[in-house]
């Protein structure tokens, strides 16, 4: 699989990751990721039949708390770092979504 890793893959995953890469970045990143994937190929040789995956190191199961209303961050604080926020009306603002 790593041998198949191409510039088209970089373009595909850049779209998924919402990154607009320059042509120069694509040139640089394609061989770098290809070389890492070739290195990571060793993992395929490990026998893992029946081995459960670890997604959390100590097997945490989540924790419960009472459903009690608590104060949240004040709205002005939550909006204080937003570019172009409309603080008076309590709004995050983004460019036009529909044409």
């Amino acid at each position: 699989m790593p041998g198949d890793f191409t510039r088209a893959d970089v373009e595909r995953i850049a779209r998924l990751a919402r990154l607009e890469l320059t042509e120069h970045e694509k040139d640089l990143i394609t061989p770098q990721l290809s070389s890492f994937l070739a290195y990571a190929e060793q993992v395929q040789a490990v026998v893992t039949a029946g081995v459960p995956p670890t997604s959390h190191p100590l097997g945490a199961t989540g924790s419960w708390r009472d459903d009690v209303a608590r104060p949240s961050l004040p709205r002005e604080d939550a909006l204080s770092q937003a570019p172009e926020a409309d603080v008076a009306n309590g709004l995050f603002k983004v460019p036009r979504v529909l044409g």
Binding site: M1, D9, V10, R12, I13, A14, L16, A17, R18, L19, E20, L21, T22, E25, L28, I29, Q32, L33, S35, F36, L37, Y39, A40, Q42, V43, Q44, V46, T48, V51, P52, P53, T54, S55, H56, P57, L58, A60, G62, S63, R65, L73, D77, A78, S80, Q81, A82, P83, E84, F92, V94, P95, R96, V97
Partner: protein, 480 residues
Amino acid sequence: MALDTAREISDAIRASTTSATDVCQAALDRIRAQNDTIHAFHTVSADLALSQAAALDARPDDWPQLPLLGVPIALKDNLCTRGVTTTACSRILEHYTPPYDATVVQRLVAAGAVVVGKTNCDEFAMGSSTENSAFVPTRNPWSLDRTPGGSSGGSAAAVAARMVPIALGSDTGGSIRQPASMCGIVGFKPTYGRVSRYGLLAFASSLDQIGPLSTTVADAAATLQVMAGADPSDATSAAVPVPDYLAALTGDIRNVRIGVPRALVNEGVDPEVRTTFEASVDILRQQGATIVDVALPHSAHAIPVYYLVATAEASSNLARYDGVRYGLRVPADTLGEMYDRTRDAGFGAEVKRRILLGTYVLSAGYYDAYYLKAQQVRTLIRRDYEAALEKTDLIALPTSPTPAFLLGERTSDPLQMYLADVFTVAANLAGLPSISVPCGFTSTRLPCGFQLTGRAMDEATVLRVADAFERATPYSRQKP
């Protein structure tokens, strides 16, 4: 009386032989004198620090209850501080000022610590040299043409240069221990879940853990004491009792069993680093510890497994930086273009590489072969450690296979940089507590670190043995 450690500082303030203000001012003076050369700090919060110190000086009745009374501390710049810029050393958060404090910051300040500033790091903690900071590389106080390691390189350099006695870092794959090793100080990653991650800008949520960097093991223990314990704001913080860590530092390590994974140590380690490692094992033996061979066969795959898991989690965590709620926004006509341009302009090369790699290994058709497979091998790595820690109390390894490398030496080869983490990533994959303590120098006087990894939630044994090692050796007292 010397005021090098947290304990000495707090005792001196309580005895009124100095004040929190004087201690704070002295730290700020040291930072001012050295930071233009070393670039340990990205932000120095002098006014806030002096007002915190003055407030402590004004309430002597509280002093007995403040374990870190007047101790100046530095925070890695990925820990949120209310009202103080928190950038993760990324352009995308260059002007971000959090509206809240991380839980560890709240707890340290409540314990009397004085935050003097935010330290430089690799962007979003992604790197092993601090050269991925979007702003400036940090220099190693022991050799200014070398990196301090990373990603918590600014924190390590600040402590090594004695600007502050304690700094906090975050450790996802070695980012506290490796720079501590390369800067000749103590760095401690607690068990996953021991310390709340609330307010830590997330990189890889199943691996990240906050911990202290300090000149002594006792100061690391005192800092952990304040930070440890469950936090309702972090569902992964563990509801496990926190023992008295300072009381654990008895100096007695008789009957402690320490495992050495020979197969790992015998391969790819710089000869001088290996010499310091073998000497360190001998010192522990002389102190009464029993040394046994252990095998960690799957650790040979730790680096690829770590980078597959960590980048997958990072690609998800960093999706939040979209120019809407905080951080950089690059204007565009449509929402989609705004996302793409903001993220392209805001993230640096290594962060983009990791987001792309993580996106790839999670994408349809590749998930099973890469991400799921890596999670399964993670299980095998974890089981190896669990089995080894049934017959031993700790596992010893060099912290880093090499001493500090030259600035620029590895920046063009990401894979070479990743290999710097070969001995540290497994403790994160397994979630175990792990410390690096200074254990000697190379012939060109570059520090080396000795790493001890213990059982889950058994920080006390890790700290006890590290402290006994420190007492038996002169290295922690050496300054650049």
